[in-house]
Symmetry: C2
Subunit: 103 residues, 2 copies
């Protein structure tokens, strides 16, 4: 299994609309990617490790797929619509990583 | 539920020993944190989003706990041993985030 992690840096001056993201964007992603998308998790940053340290990311979102080709096939035809929705909830440019699930 | 995400940046010149991490470090963390640690996932970075782009992180590790106090209580007395093991597998200083699990 692989994960696609979409991580939104909490840079000064940036904003993130969590309500829109959970109520509109994630359902849109689920609908467009269909059964190729095995699982979605959304983690909202609340803190860093040391007391008082801010969370480095607004959100860490992890999307699970059977394989990289399965992700690419599902994403390719809907990328414009998914990416085009981002300005509706944030001006933070996400860091994206594709990972192999080891544990 | 909350997650503690430990993310190791794949900076030029940095190294990461995946075998040691999975075979020694994660079992050590499980043993020390005990039942407070509800779940662990380890994702090994293989790529960025665009073709040829490198993974921004060697590893994204997510540790689940019932609450922030449960994590703090479990971690406090073992922090030195856990953090002290890091040089055995990497010289990449991890970015750490505590998150609320929303989805």
């Amino acid at each position: 299994m692989i994960k696609v992690s979409v991580m939104y840096p909490a840079k000064p001056g940036a904003h993130f609309d969590m309500s829109y993201y959970c109520a509109k964007h994630i359902p849109l992603v689920r609908q467009l990617l269909g059964p190729a998308l095995l699982n979605v998790s959304v983690d909202e940053g609340i803190a860093g490790l040391t007391p008082g340290a801010p969370a480095p990311f607004f959100v860490l979102c992890h999307l699970s797929f059977e394989s990289v080709p399965k992700f690419q096939e599902a994403f390719a035809s809907h990328a414009a619509q998914i990416v085009g929705d981002i300005p509706n909830y944030t001006n933070s440019e996400p860091t994206v990583q594709i990972s192999n699930v080891k544990i």
